[in-house]
């Protein structure tokens, strides 16, 4: 049942909340509804944050600073991209669309809970195993140990 309905909402507007779909379609001029534009903006902002996380993960000199960049940027970009695709999916306001958005919100909630938890666990494990943070004196040693350049 759900497969058929999902197939039908790719092509055009359908189903239960037809008036909402018409209201959303009235704002359409270039083939994009307002929800699509909002979703694209959210996904773009999420990609920018993930770019920051990736650059930080690549270039930072230390385990803790890399963990800092990865934890924050990864969490926020995941939330933004998932919410953006939720808005893009919500195009026709059908019942299946709402169900998908609720599932996407469940993933968002799950990532929001678990990603800082795993970051904290990893950082505590690294600290107790004696991973040295970079300091002014030891920075050159760390970069040499890292094997870049």
């Amino acid at each position: 049942m759900s497969m058929d309905v999902t197939d039908s909402f790719v092509g055009g507007f359908s189903l239960d909340f037809g008036f909402l779909a018409e209201a959303s379609a009235e704002t359409t001029h270039a083939g994009l509804s307002a929800l699509d534009v909002c979703g694209m903006i959210l996904v773009s902002v999420g990609l920018v944050f993930f770019l920051g996380a990736a650059v930080g993960l690549y270039r930072f000199p230390d385990f803790y600073t890399r963990m800092h960049a990865a934890g924050k940027g990864d969490t926020l970009s995941s939330l933004l991209i998932l919410l953006g695709f939720g808005l893009i999916t919500l195009d026709d306001f059908s019942m299946v669309g709402w169900l998908l958005v609720v599932k996407l919100l469940a993933i968002v909630l799950f990532i929001m809970l678990t990603s800082p938890t795993s970051t904290h666990a990893l950082m505590r494990a690294g600290y107790e195993d004696g991973v040295e943070p970079v300091t002014k004196g030891s920075s050159s040693k760390n970069t040499k140990k890292e094997g870049e350049s």
């Binding site: 993930f50 990736a54 993960l57 690549y58 990603s115």
Partner: protein, 109 residues
């Protein structure tokens, strides 16, 4: 730009931005660096599954995959962090000194 084109662009950008994390997995100095990068790649793979589901029009199926993948990623990260914490040999004495007061506190309280 249509929605499909933007979805393809987002998926490609996600994949390209995973490559620095993959570099960190390959040449991370410590095993914790590799683990952080693996965690990032896992989270982004869950997001990428949602992108693929949007592209194929089968998001109701791929959302469940993404949820299961995020859950397994979290469990893997916690398990490996605990494993590395317990079994790594400690060549220096600093961690032992750090850990000692914590045990005393636990006993006192």
């Amino acid at each position: 730009m249509t929605t499909e084109g933007f979805t393809v662009f987002a998926g490609a950008a996600l994949f390209v931005l995973m490559l620095p994390a993959l570099y960190r997995v390959a040449v991370g100095p410590t095993s914790f660096d590799r683990l952080v990068a693996v965690n990032v790649i896992g989270t982004k793979t869950a997001v990428l599954l949602v992108v693929i589901g949007t592209l194929f029009g089968r998001l109701d199926m791929f959302v469940d995959f993404a949820l299961a993948y995020a859950l397994l990623n979290f469990l893997t990260s916690l398990a490996v962090a605990r494993y590395l914490n317990r079994t790594r040999s400690m060549p220096e004495k600093k961690p032992a000194k750090r850990r000692a007061p914590r045990k005393k506190k636990a006993k006192a309280s």
